[in-house]
């Protein structure tokens, strides 16, 4: 029964990913124009040469869209997403970039969610206190700032700060300084200097959302009987709050994670592009400018996969935290 349910769900997920990726491919192949990449070259290559090159890459708009789709789909079934407009393997390119995106996203997610949950919980414990009022106001302000504006504000702020101190403390471009010499300590410091601002840009909005949500959940739980019982049986206030109230209140926040994941992906895209990290998000934007149909389709596939994995992970975490789900 359970296995059948899981299997049906898994099949549904695979079908969803396949349809989403196919739609993205057809849309990209229909609107993007790889031929225009060659028309701006000087001297302009003869048409037969361009046709031959585009045929090699399965990007020729003279062959019917459906034929191109079948060729592409046959490759994808074998696990090959085709070639980029410059003839490199899309798989290799994305594999290299996935690590960058994963590092940025996991750091942002961890910092953002932990800060948000802690701030929200503390604000709820002293409702209408100073912290509660300040964080409520701040989260409203943060949620009104789009990521593209926030990232640029951070870059402007960092330039100003570096001028003020007279040293390059905060670095705003890339993940590491190319050609850096020195021991592992210097390299670690360099990475940290590059990481600070993108992490803030990514996690601030996340922290604001989570703190609002967690505050409301915590307020519902604080008045509950089981928290009073925990204190009545002699637990210290802190232990009762952390072990009984917070743990219960965190469960819905975990489920909420699946909803915020899409926003997180978009936020990562903007952050990577503005801070010059060579990850998937940057490639997403660049691939549209370079009419790179195969890369667009492959990134859609990765994004669809990631959204479904996030939904599954939220379910699994929910089960791990809530004994009722585990038993049922």
């Amino acid at each position: 029964m359970m296995a059948g349910f899981l299997l049906r769900r898994l099949i549904n997920y695979v079908v969803l990913i396949a349809v989403a990726t196919s739609l993205a491919y057809l849309l990209a192949a229909g609107t993007l124009d790889p031929r225009s990449n060659y028309q701006e070259r000087n001297p302009r290559p003869p048409e037969s040469v361009v046709d031959a090159r585009l045929d090699d890459l399965n990007l020729n708009d003279k062959s019917p869209l459906f034929t191109r789709y079948l060729t592409w789909a046959a490759g994808v079934v074998r696990g090959d997403f085709g070639e980029t407009v410059t003839g490199d393997s899309v798989n290799d390119d994305l594999r290299r970039r996935a690590g960058v995106t994963l590092r940025l996203m996991l750091t942002g997610l961890a910092v953002g969610s932990v800060t948000g949950v802690l701030v929200g919980a503390c604000a709820a414990v002293r409702q209408y206190g100073v912290l509660d009022r300040v964080t409520t106001g701040l989260s409203f302000a943060v949620l009104a700032i789009p990521t593209v504006v926030l990232a640029n504000m951070l870059v402007i702020g960092a330039t100003w700060f570096n001028d003020l101190v007279g040293a390059k403390v905060l670095l705003v471009s890339g993940e590491v300084t190319p050609g850096l010499t020195g021991g592992w300590l210097a390299r670690l410091l360099d990475r940290a200097q590059h990481l600070v601002l993108p992490t803030i840009s990514l996690s601030l909005a996340l922290a604001a959302v989570y703190s609002r949500y967690q505050r409301n959940l915590m307020l519902d739980v604080l008045g509950a009987d089981f928290v009073r019982t925990a204190m009545a049986k002699g637990l210290r206030r802190r232990t009762a709050l952390v072990k009984h109230a917070l743990r219960t209140a965190v469960i819905p926040a975990v489920t909420y994670f699946a909803f915020t994941f899409g926003t997180l992906l978009v936020g990562t895209t903007f952050t990577e592009k503005i801070f010059g990290w060579h990850g998937l998000g940057e490639q997403l934007i660049d691939s549209i400018f370079t009419n790179d149909v195969n890369t667009v389709a492959a990134i859609s596939c990765v994004a669809a996969f990631a959204v479904l994995v996030a939904a599954l992970a939220a379910d699994a975490l929910h089960a791990a935290l809530d004994p009722r789900v585990r038993a049922g």
Partner: protein
């Protein structure tokens, strides 16, 4: 015995006078009593006034170029300064604000209507209707919206912004429609819906007359919060050159141009960015207080 028409009119008029304050008035009262709601509404009114009446006060239009003033700081002649092209920042910023507001409002209303219809039909008819509609919803949730909209951007050029609004709305409605579906499933078992069904009222009429009015609070709040979501998506797309296309301007394109000169000409960036932040803040404040005011469990 039948009442004459005049008597009927008198009775219903009297009932109206004696009735408790209407729900609309109750909600409006609650909304206006909260400081948050008041400041949000005032801010948004100011933003609208600035966007639509402001250009009349300025002496430059958004297409004018002042070839005697490139990248000049704010002055009496150019209230917000000028860009590198000599365009008046005040004029282009207000033009962009207009565009962003119109796009945001239309997309929000459209997506809420879509969410209400899809959710209510899925929840009321169940069976294959539900499975098909919810599958489409899941599919759109899985598709990366930003990427799809960006790929479609060549179609939005040359004054095709209504198409852009429609596409924007197409990627905003999914989560709400799932909530609407859940609420419809519980509503359809209620007595007043069953009574209507047994009287032979057609299903579509039931949905429009009984189901959707009962979800109006949720939908109003959703439409409000969608305005800010739509504005944020629009400006982000335009920032990267995928949304509103030149020669038209949006706050997103202005912010993108402004970042290049922001460090030595701050006026090119901060006016557009500031107005965008104020607009989104105002809409969020209104949405949040509306949610509180429409909460049926709240006293007063």
């Amino acid at each position: 015995m039948t009442l004459s028409r005049e008597e009927l009119a008198r009775v219903s008029a009297g009932a109206g006078r004696l009735a408790v304050p209407s729900r609309g008035r109750l909600v409006a009262g609650r909304f206006l009593r909260s400081g948050q709601g008041r400041s949000g509404a005032a801010l948004l009114a100011l933003v609208f006034l600035l966007a639509f009446a402001g250009p009349l006060a300025g002496r430059w239009s958004h297409t004018d170029k002042d070839f005697l003033a490139f990248l000049q700081p704010p002055s009496a002649l150019h209230w917000f300064g000028t860009l590198q092209t000599g365009a008046d920042v005040y004029a282009v910023t207000l033009r962009g604000l207009q565009r962003s507001l119109v796009v945001g409002l239309l997309a929000a209303v459209l997506s809420t209507v879509l969410a209400a219809l899809v959710g209510a039909f899925a929840g009321y008819f169940l069976g294959w209707t539900e499975r098909t509609l919810m599958w489409v919803t899941d599919l759109l949730l899985v598709l990366p919206a930003f990427l799809i909209l960006a790929v479609m951007s060549p179609l939005f050029s040359s004054g095709q912004w209504p198409l852009f609004v429609a596409m924007l709305a197409l990627f905003l409605w999914m989560v709400t429609s799932k909530i609407v579906r859940g609420m419809t499933i519980s509503l359809r078992e209620r007595e007043f819906v069953q009574a209507a069904r047994f009287m032979g009222v057609p299903p579509v009429t039931i949905i429009f007359r009984h189901i959707l009015p009962n979800l109006s609070s949720l939908l109003v709040v959703d439409a409000t919060l969608n305005v800010s979501a739509a504005i944020l998506t629009e400006t982000s797309l335009s920032y990267f050159g995928f949304g509103i296309q030149p020669p038209d301007v949006s706050l997103g394109t202005l912010i993108a141009d402004g970042t290049r000169t922001a460090t030595y000409a701050p006026w090119t960036f901060w006016f557009a960015a500031g107005l965008l932040i104020v607009t989104v803040l105002a809409v969020n404040l209104i949405g949040d207080s509306l949610r509180d005011a429409l909460d049926p469990e709240r006293p007063g």
